[in-house]
């Protein structure tokens, strides 16, 4: 039993010729090829699904080679298929370092955002209603990502355009992106952080009162309260009235 499992395993990993095994076992070789393609295909599908933007930026042949290389280098270790795609980010970084497959720094940052979206979608972190005396607190699923390319803007445009890539690879430009699970709809949300959002982020992080923040920024307290409410409505900031 173990010998057969070993041979099947080597065949699936690409270390054993399926034709030779078909001959030895007297089984139709196309059925062995079916298993090989099915197992490899699951990994490809997981990558395409979880890196839905970056995967289509490669020419089809290049992407096939890329995924085959990923399959070879990173055997799937987790029983949950999507989690096997987590290593793809590190793989892309490694391929960038080795100057292979034409991968740019932008693609590396893009895959970072894509995986962050999946992590937020899947996280078991619970979003609890803050107590009234807690004031404003960050949504515990919030990930604040800083990029040297406008990755969030690119992804938003790509998705607004139904997945048709009309944009070239963008020029470097610093951008901060918030990824979080909305406390009501439970959907994963991706937002490019505006200066207003970054102001609220710093204010809550530094535990400033609206009055202090208003004085520091030389704006009215009402404006600060409006900004806080905006963040609560977006879902990345919570208060006792959120739920």
């Amino acid at each position: 039993m173990k010998d057969q499992a070993t041979l099947l395993h080597h065949m699936l990993r690409g270390d054993l010729d399926a034709d030779a095994l078909a001959l030895a076992w007297n089984v139709p070789k196309e059925r062995l090829y079916f298993y090989i393609e099915a197992v490899k295909g699951h990994i490809r599908e997981a990558v395409e699904k979880n890196y839905d933007v970056s995967s289509v930026l490669f020419p089809s042949d290049t992407f096939t080679s890329l995924v085959n290389e990923f399959y070879r280098r990173y055997p799937a270790e987790h029983y949950e298929l999507n989690r096997c795609a987590s290593a793809y980010r590190a793989f892309i970084d490694a391929m960038y370092t080795q100057n292979r497959f034409g991968i740019s720094n932008f693609i590396c940052e893009l895959t970072q955002l894509e995986w962050a979206e999946w992590e937020v979608y899947a996280t078991r972190e619970e979003i609890r209603q803050p107590k009234p005396d807690q004031g404003f607190v960050f949504n515990p699923t919030l990930q604040t990502l800083m990029f040297s390319y406008p990755v969030g803007t690119f992804v938003r445009a790509w998705r607004h355009n139904d997945g048709v890539n009309t944009l070239g690879e963008p020029q470097p430009s610093d951008e901060t992106v918030f990824v979080f699970r909305h406390p009501i709809s439970l959907h994963a949300c991706t937002m490019v952080a505006s200066p207003r959002m970054l102001f609220v982020l710093k204010m809550v992080h530094d535990v400033m009162t609206p009055g202090d923040a208003a004085r520091c920024a030389n704006i009215s307290t009402k404006t600060v309260l409006d900004l806080l409410q905006e963040a609560v409505d977006d879902g990345w900031l919570l208060c006792s009235d959120t739920f």
């Binding site: 057969q4 499992a5 089984v27 699951h42 799937a76 979608y121 996280t123």
Partner: protein, 277 residues
Amino acid sequence: METARYGLGLRRPHFDDYVPKLHDVDFLEIVPENFMEFGGKALHTLHALREYYPLVMHGVSLNLGGVDPLREDYLDSLSRLASIISPPWFSDHLSSSSAFGVEYHDLLPVPFTMEAVHHVVDRITYVQARMRTPFLLENPSYYIVLPGAEMTEAEFIGEVLSRADCGLLLDVNNVFVNSRNHGYAAKAFIDALPLQRVRQIHLAGHDDSGNFLIDTHGASTPSSVLDLYAYVIEKVGPTWTMIERDNQIPPLDELRNELHIVREIGDASLLSWRRAA
């Protein structure tokens, strides 16, 4: 006497579609791997639906036929999920799904040998005791017969079920696909199974690759499989039947229409079963 129930597989596109309770869906089956490691929408959906439907778990990664030790982290997670939904049973396949630390996310065949019988029985016995929940074993689809077979597929399944003392989740589509791919009579195969152990039935569609049939769960249940289902119900009597659809998932109404047809066939076949009984 057991009541016939007809259900569907809970899939992500339909998370929001089952509340309020649908009168024509008696139970839901979940693939635990799609929920075990997830919070958010998936977990929220389970908590909501357990109030309305009996939920059963049908896993794909237990790896009963695999040579690696059973994964305790997987069983821990499966137990946590079971504590949430309190399923009347859980099920997985008579297959291997990983080896040497690598997950295949697919179901590979096991040899029809006594060595494999003992191996699988030991693992089922352990899992069933650890989970404290009845276990059903599904007859899988397979595309090659590993060399060295010492018995037929039906004998192999029968030996495992008897020695492990567990139930059978009879996948009628798998029987049809296997019978075509390996050249045996589907009804004779069913007759050779210990049908008194059937607790649940799977129905699904398949694709024709040209050389052989592939169990894709990507199409509605064809009449050939429904005919075989009627034959099974006439022999088995009332049981739980569900439609598996994992690819090309249609709108829920389409699946409900298909389930309505299944219910009509199942209920009509039950009349024959009652007459015979």
